[in-house]
């Protein structure tokens, strides 16, 4: 059946040339590589398990207690999950191995007909360390449920896993917290893990239908890892896992360890990196030649209201999404994205349990889609390009973390810094400047994050016309809801408009217009800066930079001064006024000069209008709605 499935897969013919077919040492697993990346160590393969033939590399969602956070088995299948991970320790405690024996395994109990993998419970040594005591015999746990003590030995672990009946079982390993410093502890753990593996193999009653994977230990020490690798590989298992990572170690040490392990592990057997689930880590580890992953992250983050997207995750609690009627991800085909908008999810997230289900479903589907893209790109032998595109989308402005660059360089994938047009850079300067970002966020005026989302989209230029209309409508509601409008809103609207104009009409604009837009933007920025952060140091900074800039002439100085006075006038009844007092003498005009301020704003407005007219844009009505 494995062969038939392989032949029907697209790209299988391409794969045939590169394929390293293998026979497995286990009757319960057959593994064949379908295609390999010509640059990196990435490969895509087919692994046939007793319950399901799975495509690798793959991500396995974690269903610790025999269920995946509120999702029905059908929904999990709909999200294209191939293997669910269960936990031996938890399932062994509750409902217990006897029940599984009666029921004929976890598959039947939870109605899951695809493959299952059970973790041995070793990891709980770390996560429940206070409750566990490790000896050569095994791990002594105190049950978190009723306080009773139980001994988890390798034999016991396998007995439970045999009862559960997972397609892949993990050996009980001696897991040490990766942040532990003691070399000797890691050394003991590495050797003990192999000793326990031998006991596990001996205890396995179903080698014909349950695979037992050894786990490579050795912390972050290459010599220990090598010892562990050598010993474990000698046991000729159907597949191998890299353990003891993802516990909070530095990424600079994480990837070389994975790299080392995949270099030594047999090529014709699946490799499983335990506890890895962030999108970037998945892509990097695939490049390093890992085939299987698991992590609680996608479902856990869903419980906190976060949805996974191509550039990380978005928290739907944020007010940005209150009027955002797009799906979480337009490219996503999951039922959440097909049926619900961000605005709807924003309304119910963290309040109604169904929000958690919807987000879990999306997040699982996202991970599956990511892995599918990786598999497809390897088949088409464009994995390197995929990685570049992925990283470029994930890290705006190509500011890649060094470890990602290094890890990928180790497998001959170079991440280029894409130096695109000046406009983009200008825009992202504004966008990324932490300081100005914070200023915007801290606005007291009610001009809120919502506007920033629009800003970002306008800048990045990735929104369609009708969306632009919807966006403007969104602004409108947000702004109209503020009865007392601060002039900063007015200014920011104009600024946003200009920015959108600069980006969207990039090609149509002549130099003159561009300069004009920037000049107006400068005026706006000055006015805004003074309003946002009326501190002396900023003011001085602004004044200083004005003097140094050639384009600033005296007139600009006056304008700056007038906008400042304008601010004063507006806040003259406010307590903030006191702060401005000290500056009065400096600029030589008094807070009462509202004429001056209005002149300044009117000038900004008329010049903006002129620019907009010249490119054929109409200033949306809502911008002009409020009297200043």
């Amino acid at each position: 059946m494995a062969t038939a499935t392989a032949a029907s897969l697209p790209g299988a013919s391409v794969a045939a040339a590169a394929a390293v077919s293998s026979s497995s040492s286990s009757p319960a697993l057959s593994f064949r590589i379908l295609a390999e990346c010509s640059k990196s160590k990435a490969r895509t393969s087919l692994m046939k398990l007793p319950h399901y033939a799975v495509e690798l590399p793959m991500f396995m969602p974690v269903g610790t207690q025999g269920t995946l956070k509120g999702l029905l088995p059908e929904q999990v299948k709909g999200a294209k999950a191939q293997v669910i991970l269960g936990n031996t320790y938890h399932l062994g405690t509750r409902p217990g191995k006897d029940l599984f024996q009666d029921f004929g395994g976890l598959h039947k109990f939870m109605q899951w007909d695809r493959a299952l993998l059970t973790d041995s419970g070793g990891f709980q040594m770390v996560s429940l360390l206070d409750l566990a005591e490790i000896t050569e015999e095994g791990v002594k746990f105190r049950s978190p449920y009723d306080g009773s003590e139980c001994m988890l030995t390798p034999e016991e672990s396998i007995e439970i896993q045999n009862a559960i009946g997972a397609d892949i079982m993990m050996q009980l390993d001696d897991v040490v917290d990766v942040r532990e410093k003691d070399y000797e502890r890691f050394k003991t753990a590495a050797y003990r893990t192999t000793r326990w593996l031998d006991r596990c193999i001996k205890a396995n009653k179903n080698p014909d239908r349950q695979n037992l994977f050894p786990i490579i230990q050795g912390g972050l020490f290459p010599d220990l890892r090598k010892i562990s690798l050598e010993q474990q590989i000698a046991r000729d298992a159907p597949g191998y896992a890299i353990g003891g990572l993802s516990g909070g170690e530095a990424k600079e040490k994480f990837w070389p360890t994975v790299h080392l392990c995949t270099d030594h592990l047999p090529k014709n057997k699946p490799r499983y990196c335990m506890g890895v689930g962030f999108a970037v880590d998945l892509v990097v580890c695939c490049a390093l030649g890992v085939d299987m992953f698991d992590c609680v992250f996608p479902t856990r983050t869903a419980r906190f209201g976060c949805a996974l997207v191509d550039n990380g995750q978005i928290n739907l609690k944020a007010r940005d999404f209150a009027n955002d009627f797009r799906p979480i991800d337009e490219k996503c085909g999951c039922s959440t994205c097909r049926n619900y908008s961000r605005a709807y999810l924003h309304t119910i997230v963290t309040k109604e349990t169904v929000a958690c289900h919807l987000l879990s479903l999306h997040n699982v589907a996202y991970q599956m889609r990511l892995m599918q893209s990786i598999r497809d790109s390897i088949k088409k032998d464009c994995f390197a390009e995929f990685v570049e595109d992925f990283m470029a989308a994930y890290y705006k402005d190509q500011e890649y973390p060094q470890w990602v660059v290094d890890a990928l360089a180790a497998v001959k994938i170079t991440l280029k810094k894409n130096s695109s047009s000046g406009v983009t850079n200008k825009a992202s300067d504004i966008w990324d400047d932490q300081e100005s970002d914070e200023k915007l966020w801290n606005l007291r005026s009610g001009f809120d994050k919502l506007y920033l989302t629009g800003y970002r989209n306008a800048i990045l230029g990735d929104f369609e016309e009708e969306e632009a209309a919807g966006r403007i409508e969104g602004f409108e509601t947000a702004f109209q809801s503020q009865s007392k409008v601060n002039p900063t809103i007015y200014l920011s609207r104009l600024d946003g408009l200009l920015m959108a104009c600069l980006t969207k009409c990039k090609s149509n604009l002549n130099e003159e217009q561009k300069v004009e837009i920037r000049l107006i933007q400068n005026m706006i920025n000055h006015a805004l800066k003074l309003n946002f952060e009326p501190s002396k140091s900023i003011l001085e900074k602004v004044l200083k930079s004005n003097k140094q800039t050639e384009t600033r002439n005296e007139q600009e100085e006056v304008r700056l001064c007038s906008s400042e006075c304008f601010v004063d006038a507006k806040y003259s009844e406010d307590s903030t006024r006191d702060r401005y007092k000290s500056r009065d003498s400096k600029c030589g005009c008094t807070p009462g000069q509202t004429d001056n301020a209005e002149t300044c704003l009117n000038e900004i407005l008329s010049r903006t209008r002129a620019v907009c007219d010249s490119v054929g844009w109409k200033i949306p009505d809502f911008i002009l709605n409020h009297e200043l």
Binding site: Q65, L71, H357
Partner: protein, 399 residues
């Protein structure tokens, strides 16, 4: 300006049962949003029937709604703005249904006076609105627990002071103040006041009443001529992790000869099963029975005779479905042991599976009611439930 309101119909745990949306963001959730994702009729009531409405917060200016963001006082104008934004298939007019048991005549009078004001405003705005052309307005039936006041209110609805052309139905409110306590209202408690409310009304318009009515009270209300109920009962049963098992199938009971093991209820199963089960199955049956007694004494308030409690340890190794013969997704796929495991482990899937079962059971119960009305056997249905659930006819009788 943005706030979230609770409108309740039914609560949904899973998207496929999404007829039961509880919360909408007013203004910005459009009809399209609501309907494309639901594909079902949407009805809006003023208060959430699953949560006890705090009393004493309504006054002349408006009605208090209890939202995620706290209390919101809502006027008829504002309420109708919301309706325009949501465009439900039908909605009840804004009303002050506050007066609970033991309210003074004065309080009832105040509530009916202000509610009449709201109703008239709602009718005017409803008729003027283009957007609400496709929505139906239901008039509230008020009057607290006073037969006289209820009768008077209904009569005033039929009088010329109210524009009847805009009213497409009635909803009986003010029988209770929502929340789980409604379950304790027995047929005898509501029978007369509902009768008083319904008596003056025209027969051709639908009548609705929201709340956690227990099955016997539902039957009584249906008997009195109420047409529309909601799923608060199965929802709140799910919240306390119960699975509904009360019987309602008349036909199967009638042909006792054809009574198969797979199509009956546990209660009856216990009585009827004598020889057909193996000793093991028999033992399994005995366990819950004993535990039922224990449960009833331990946490009586968390359960009702209509359901089995899935927290109960007796389910730990039961390989049978929640209800033998039930055709719902949960019963066809999962065992009690699994649902019990999920419940004990506090997993999110437990309420999902239970709600699917309970809702299915509740819907089937209603199809059985419709059938019984058609064949004029409503009393038989009442007797069936009374005898099998309470095993005796004491207290509860048809009036």
């Amino acid at each position: 300006m943005f706030f979230i309101l609770w409108w309740t119909r039914m609560h949904h745990y899973m998207y496929r049962l999404s007829i039961f949306v509880t919360t909408f963001r007013c203004f910005r959730i459009t009809r399209k949003e609501l309907h494309t994702s639901l594909h079902f009729s949407v009805c809006v009531s003023v208060q959430d029937a699953a949560k006890a409405t705090p009393q004493g917060y309504n006054h002349k200016k408006g009605v208090s709604l209890w939202t995620y963001g706290g209390r919101q006082i809502i006027t008829a104008d504002k309420y109708m703005d919301l309706m325009e934004a949501m465009q439900p298939d039908w909605y009840e007019a804004l009303n002050d249904a506050d007066p609970g048991i033991g309210s003074s005549k004065k309080r009832i009078l105040n509530s009916t006076t202000s509610s009449m004001e709201y109703l008239k405003q709602c009718i005017t705005l409803h008729k003027a609105s283009q957007k609400l052309k496709g929505s139906a307005l239901f008039a509230p039936l008020l009057g607290g627990r006073s037969e006289k006041a209820r009768n008077g209110w209904s009569k005033s609805l039929m009088s010329t002071t109210v524009d009847k052309s805009a009213i497409s139905g009635y909803t009986i409110v003010g029988l209770h103040t929502n929340g789980p306590e409604v379950e304790d209202l027995q047929p005898v408690n509501v029978s007369n006041i509902v009768k008083a409310s319904l008596e003056p009304l025209a027969a051709e318009l639908p009548r609705q009443t929201a709340g956690m009515w227990n099955p016997l009270t539902v039957l009584q209300l249906a008997h009195l001529g109420v047409d529309i109920f909601d799923s608060t009962f199965p929802f709140l049963v799910t919240e306390r992790r119960g699975a509904l098992t009360f019987p309602f199938r008349l036909n199967r009971r009638q042909n006792d000869g054809a009574y198969s093991k797979g199509s009956c209820l546990e209660h009856q199963n216990k009585k009827l099963k004598v020889s057909e089960d193996s000793p093991k199955a028999k033992a399994e049956e005995e366990v819950p029975r004993q535990d039922n007694k224990i449960r009833e004494s331990e946490d009586e308030e968390l359960s009702s005779p209509y359901e089995i409690n899935m927290k109960n340890k007796s389910n730990v190794s039961l390989m049978k479905p929640l209800l033998e013969g039930c055709e719902c997704y949960t019963c066809k796929n999962f065992t009690r042991a699994y649902v019990h495991h999920l419940t004990i482990a506090n997993e999110l899937l437990a309420p999902v599976l239970l709600m699917m079962h309970n809702l299915h059971h509740w819907m089937d119960f209603f199809s059985s009611i419709r059938e019984a009305i058609k064949t004029d056997r409503l009393e038989d249905l009442q007797t069936l439930i009374t005898t099998s659930v309470f095993e005796s006819n004491e207290d509860i009788t048809l009036s």
